[in-house]
């Protein structure tokens, strides 16, 4: 019998407690996301030189298990005027977030600290393909993520876009040709800009997978 009364007491006590429900869609009644929350991927913005970290190296695109990304790189105009260390920068980037499974492999494989799982997790759209986001939207997501979480690159020395001191001085032809041979172009070219001008471009972008 004591058990019966105890049961009533337990429910009375819980009834006195504050409900733990978070009324989700109201902006001020949601739960806070943890810093480690993994939402959809976003591209990060290098505030030092005002350009994205992403160089369009396509590693994330090749690693993506659902083939939801596509991208295209271009020569970095800031590098031409010696304001950035990056020779290549992302030109177009499209992610179909409807296909993304939030696995985070793109973040793991990125060598440039350029992509991160943001806090963005709300996908509701009225269009069937409304979740294809382009470069600008990805960068906006990334900027919001950076301002929310005080994000810092994992390899700041390697991936900073701030030009090195040696970049300002004219480079020797030998060094440049070495670098050019690294990317597989003929060694006679003396600058990266020449390579991209002489290399035939694909009309429809480098790779379209989604």
């Amino acid at each position: 019998m004591i058990g019966f009364l105890e049961g009533l007491l337990v429910t009375l006590k819980t009834a006195m407690r504050k409900p733990i429900t978070a009324q989700y869609p109201d902006p001020d009644k949601r739960l806070d996301l943890a810093n480690r929350y993994m939402g959809f991927p976003a591209l990060l913005w290098d505030r030092d030189v005002e350009e994205p970290y992403c160089t369009g190296c396509m590693v994330c695109i090749r690693a993506c298990p659902t083939l939801c990304m596509s991208a295209q790189m271009k020569d970095n105009p800031l590098h031409a005027v010696k304001k950035s260390r990056r020779r290549k920068v992302i030109d177009t980037f499209e992610v179909n977030l409807g296909r993304c499974i939030l696995c985070g492999i793109c973040v793991d494989v990125c060598n440039f600290d350029a992509i991160e799982m943001s806090h963005n997790h709300e996908l509701t759209k009225y269009q069937r393909n409304g979740n294809r986001v382009n470069l600008g939207q990805l960068i906006d997501m990334g900027k919001a993520y950076q301002s929310e979480t005080s994000w810092v690159p994992k390899q700041p020395d390697k991936n900073s876009g701030v030009p090195l001191k040696t970049d300002s001085a004219p480079r020797s032809g030998q060094e440049m040709s070495d670098r050019a041979s690294d990317v597989g172009a003929p060694a006679r070219h003396s600058s990266i800009a020449e390579i991209s001008e002489t290399t035939p471009k694909e009309p429809n972008g480098i790779e379209t997978q989604s």
Partner: protein
């Protein structure tokens, strides 16, 4: 019956129906809120202020839903069943007073009429079970029949105890007899039996054997949808409200105890408010019980009813009769009733079939990290597993 009487009764009936509908809507909202709070949820919050219009939205949804007729159903039985459940639930209210003059027809045999009418709803439930041509519905209907018939006995016996004290079956007279104290003081056992048997009559949660969702998936109501299901629902909540009201009338002093001040219509309004407040408390207790206890097995239900409630309700009547016959003071009845109540509660706990062993598990805190072996452990050679 004259024309004016006919008109007044019709208007009164319509008004009563409106009042009951509003009360049912409020009760569904209150029940969802109460259960939600017990489970640390919020309940309906979207429609209206704190979900106050949620029952209206639910009602609209139910009315606009498609009414499905199973192809093998027995049509007339299937369609009449909701009415057969609803009508007794409504007829009950003809003689239930909300205040001294606020009653459709104050019958001299009011309590008798009520007990007679409540039995009828069994018929509707069995009809619904039979007409649906569904095995779950059939099982639920027969379970309802067994349960309601079983608990009808202690229900009526508990009423009878009060009727013996007042020497009347008129509900207004019964309330007037409780101007000093409610009969809950004199007959706590009667109150317990009445409320328990009432819950079983309603089929509310500790006794919701006949529409147990996990066993007979809704019992007699499985095949019903839309407006017809809404009628069942309405009847069920009207019955819940009726049992709470009867508890207040018979045991908690109705609109008296204590008497309300003022005269005339202000007095009536105050009485009704006080009466409804008491009823709300009883309804709240019913919701509280629903949020606390799990469903009984059918054998537990039957043994509880026949082996415990029925004998005790008879003993209750015998004790009341003895006290009244020898003219002993009423406080002896209180004591006897309390003794019987505690004896009954002892029987509930001492019943070997339902006894529960308590096991206490003590959890010792474990410190994280490596524990350095102390001198004693190294000497005895025991090793720690860190």
């Amino acid at each position: 019956m004259t024309l004016s009487q006919l008109v007044s009764y019709t208007l009164g009936g319509v008004g009563l129906l409106l009042f009951l509908s509003v009360m049912v809507l409020a009760m569904t909202w209150g029940e969802r809120k109460a259960l939600a709070r017990i489970q640390m949820r919020m309940g309906p919050m979207r429609v209206g202020f704190h979900g106050a219009l949620q029952p209206v939205a639910d009602a609209m949804k139910l009315i606009t839903k498609e009414d499905i007729l199973p192809s093998l159903a027995n049509r007339p039985v299937y369609w009449i069943a909701p009415v057969a459940v609803f009508l007794p639930a409504f007829m009950l209210w003809v003689t239930i007073p909300l205040a001294r003059n606020l009653v459709l027809r104050n019958l001299e045999l009011g309590l008798f009429y009520i007990t007679a009418v409540t039995v009828l709803s069994v018929l509707g439930l069995v009809m619904a079970g039979w007409g649906s041509a569904n095995k779950w519905a059939m099982l639920g209907g027969l379970r309802a029949a067994g349960q309601l018939v079983s608990y009808e006995v202690p229900f009526i016996m508990a009423i009878l105890g009060v009727a013996m004290l007042v020497q009347s079956l008129n509900l207004v007279t019964i309330v007037d007899a409780q101007s000093k104290y409610g009969y809950a003081v004199i007959q706590p056992l009667g109150l317990f039996i009445f409320l328990t048997a009432g819950l079983a009559e309603l089929g509310r949660t500790p006794f919701d054997i006949h529409h147990a969702e996990s066993e007979v998936v809704g019992g007699p109501f499985v095949e019903y949808s839309g407006a017809h299901w809404a009628v069942f629902f309405l009847a069920e909540y009207m019955n819940t409200f009726a049992v709470a009201t009867l508890t207040v009338l018979l045991f908690l002093g109705g609109w008296r105890w204590p008497d309300m001040p003022l005269d005339g219509s202000a007095h009536t309004a105050l009485s009704v408010a006080w009466f409804l407040a008491k009823t709300a408390v009883v309804v709240g207790v019913i919701f509280w019980i629903r949020g606390t206890y799990p469903r009984l097995r059918i054998d537990q239900l039957m043994s509880f009813g026949w082996k415990l409630l029925v004998p005790l309700s008879f003993i209750n009547i015998v004790v009341t009769g003895v006290v009244l016959f020898y003219g002993w003071p009423l406080w002896t009845l209180t004591i006897l009733s309390l003794v019987l109540l505690s004896g009954m509660l002892y029987l509930i706990t001492a019943n070997p079939g339902t006894r529960m062993e308590r096991k206490t598990v003590t959890v010792h805190p474990v410190k994280a990290g490596r524990v350095e072996p102390t001198a004693s452990t190294t000497q005895t050679g025991t090793e720690t597993d860190y």
